[in-house]
């Protein structure tokens, strides 16, 4: 009875359409944003930021992007790793070519570049679907990584073949490079995540989002009722790659600082983000958060438990980890294809009736 919609009446269609129709949800959302921007920065330290918080924020952006493509538009992509790499290398090239360009613009532009690349590799989706499309995106994955590691222009001819991020400041504070603090990096990622989630939510609730979902649910019928498949699919690829590119740019500039395409953005990254989307819930904004959270925090907890507490060798723990991840994927697909989001919804239903479930 704490959580319910009774008495929460709507008097306009706009009010009925808002993201969090229930007052309880709305309050929780505002509190979360205030907590993330106003409280966390005062307590965060390097360990927490680097082990959990920053990867969580960055992967959530990637998962949001991939969820738009797979969960909303129904186009399977296994090229997420390469699109993240595109964002990372674009950010590197931009910031080294124009050192005075504000880091925020660098990251947004990196997203724009990735959107362009994503659209190019999304073109086959107009003729092919399902796992055929998955193969097309695999082509993107392997070709782009090869391109970035083999063409010296991309890494500014550095002898190691790596790209490394110089120090860049925002409002006088260093946010990237060696002198950056955990707080500044955290705040940058948090702001980008909030903006990305807001963007994703707006696009998925409007007419564009409905066109994506129509294509996902029944592409032929969608076209017959007036959805232009070219525009719908390519816009999904563009928005998805834009977000994935931003996450790749942040991953490199804020989190890694130095990267090599094959090492940091291989096919395993593509799968990791895909798993986040599946576990969190296909076609759900909240799911992208939950999935990323589980797959970032889970391995850390497992490592603390097995290696630090029980003293197992790291490799055995690592093998157990991928085994558990694989099993989780299967379990979710079998038990709850809509992922953690659906579990959360069930809990809410229960809460609505509590304490009088009958």
């Amino acid at each position: 009875m704490i959580y319910r919609e009774a008495g929460d009446f709507k008097t306009s269609y706009a009010a009925d359409n808002q993201t969090f129709p229930l007052r309880g949800d709305r309050l929780a959302y505002y509190l979360a944003v205030i907590f993330a921007l106003g409280v966390v920065p005062f307590f965060i330290n390097d360990y927490w930021a680097n082990a959990i918080v920053i990867p969580f924020l960055i992967y959530t952006i990637a998962a949001l992007g991939l969820n738009i493509l797979i969960g909303y538009c129904g186009q399977l992509s296994l090229g997420t790793g390469a699109f993240m790499a595109t964002g990372a290398y674009a950010a590197f090239k931009l910031t080294t070519a124009f050192p005075s360009l504000n880091i925020i613009f660098v990251i947004i532009l990196a997203g724009v570049v990735t959107a362009g690349v994503g659209v190019a590799f999304g073109l086959p989706s107009l003729r092919i679907k399902g796992f055929y499309l998955a193969v097309a995106t695999l082509a993107a994955q392997f070709f782009l990584i090869w391109l970035y590691t083999r063409t010296p222009w991309f890494f500014n001819y550095s002898p190691t073949g790596m790209i490394s991020m110089p120090t860049r400041e925002l409002f006088g504070y260093p946010v990237t490079g060696a002198s950056a603090t955990a707080v500044s990096g955290y705040l940058l990622c948090a702001v980008f995540l909030i903006a990305s989630a807001w963007l994703a939510r707006n696009l998925t609730r409007g007419t564009l989002g409905r066109q994506w979902m129509a294509i996902r649910d029944m592409d032929i019928a969608a076209e017959i009722i007036g959805v232009n498949p070219l525009r719908a699919k390519l816009s999904a690829f563009a928005v998805s790659s834009f977000l994935v590119g931003i996450s790749g740019a942040l991953f490199f500039t804020v989190y890694l600082g130095a990267a090599e395409a094959g090492e940091s953005f291989g096919i395993d990254k593509s799968f990791l983000v895909l798993f986040m989307v599946i576990i969190g819930g296909l076609g759900s904004i909240l799911g992208s958060f939950l999935g990323a959270f589980l797959l970032v925090v889970g391995p850390v907890l497992l490592k603390i438990l097995l290696v630090n507490n029980l003293g197992w060798p790291t490799d055995v723990a690592a093998h157990l980890e991928i085994m558990i991840i694989g099993a989780l994927i299967i379990l979710f697909l079998v038990m709850e294809p809509h992922g953690l989001t659906a579990l959360w919804r069930t809990i809410k239903e229960k809460l609505r009736l509590w304490p009088f479930p009958h």
Partner: protein, 328 residues
């Protein structure tokens, strides 16, 4: 004859044997896809797992010894015996059949009537699970697999080509054997599906699920059967690849190569899988040979996918597939 042409021919010949490998893995895909519509991403990991099991049985490794050691602080590794190759192979086949049964029982029985894309993602999960499971069961270090096949340069090929062109081609004897065994495997699969009762049931299911069910064919049995067959094909592929380059993680990556092979050959065609495998094997070697001076090497990483992509745009149904008419 100019030297470049000879070198290119040698590269093509070597590509042919890599192609046999791709074709083998693709064959496993086709078997499962035809009978169940499942696009089995884990085929490559199955090959790795089969090879790991074979080595493990052969050398008398204790299964899960790493895990047991980690939990109980013991230091066990081997039983101290070795098994003859034939016995070890038979044992591995048994393990693969058990695996097939478990896959049906615990995964796909619960995913009946799901969309193909969900099934596909489930096999990605299966691939991860099996990879971790294999590593925990047998350890992750690179292993040498010796099943008694001859290795080293093939004399006859060298002599013959020298006599013809004045330049002896290098070809590993192992690869010739691999090609022979692969053809044998394909022939016996064809015989099996043409002349046995189970084979007929298999073809019936591939043709029309509903109709096959209505004449009393057990779908569950068929699924276990095809996954077992795919497991055996994986074992052969794992043996060949393992004997050549050692049993290690990279083995599971050939599964990814099999995807473009299938695009070329069509998802339901056994001859298609073989021809597609050979085209990609030869194509990527030749492409790399000619492009190396221009763009640098390692184009094998992506050539197959780009070729498949080009194919998809112009002939989405593959070389041997039929054009699909869409309906509402």
């Amino acid at each position: 004859m100019p030297d470049t042409l000879l070198f290119a021919m040698e590269a093509a010949l070597n590509g042919l044997t890599a192609g046999v490998m791709y074709a083998l893995v693709a064959l496993g895909f086709v078997l499962i896809f035809k009978a169940s519509g499942i696009f089995n991403f884990s085929q490559g990991v199955m090959a790795l797992f089969a090879a790991l099991t074979l080595v493990g049985l052969q050398t008398g490794q204790i299964p899960f010894s790493h895990l047991i050691n980690a939990i109980f602080g013991t230091r066990m590794h081997h039983f101290g015996w070795t098994l003859p190759t034939v016995v070890a192979i038979a044992g591995t086949v048994v393990v693969m059949v058990i695996f097939a049964w478990a896959v049906e029982r615990f995964i796909f029985r619960h995913l009946v009537n799901q969309e193909p894309i969900i099934l596909f993602m489930a096999t990605i999960g299966l691939a991860y699970f099996l990879e971790g499971f294999g590593d925990i069961m047998w350890g992750a270090e690179v292993k040498r697999l010796d099943v008694g096949l001859p290795q080293g340069m093939s004399g006859p090929v060298d002599d013959l080509t020298f006599a013809w062109f004045g330049y002896g081609f290098y070809m590993d004897r192992l690869e010739i054997w691999a090609a022979l065994i692969a053809s044998l495997l394909v022939i016996s699969l064809v015989l099996f599906s043409q002349y046995t009762k189970q084979g007929r049931a298999l073809r019936a299911v591939a043709d029309d699920h509903q109709a096959a069910l209505s004449v009393g064919i057990s779908l569950r049995f068929i699924w276990v059967l095809v996954w077992s067959l795919a497991g055996i094909v994986a074992l052969v592929a794992g043996m060949m690849w393992g004997a050549k380059s050692g049993v290690q993680f990279s083995l599971s990556l050939i599964a990814l190569k099999a995807l473009p092979v299938l695009i070329l050959g069509g998802f339901t065609s056994i001859p298609g899988a073989i021809v597609g495998g050979l085209i990609i094997g030869v194509g990527e070697k030749l492409f790399d040979f000619f492009m190396q001076p221009i763009v640098g090497g390692a184009t094998e990483n992506w050539f197959a996918y780009m070729l498949a992509l080009a194919f998809l745009l112009f002939r989405p149904q593959g070389l041997f597939g039929e054009k699909i008419i869409e309906r509402v």
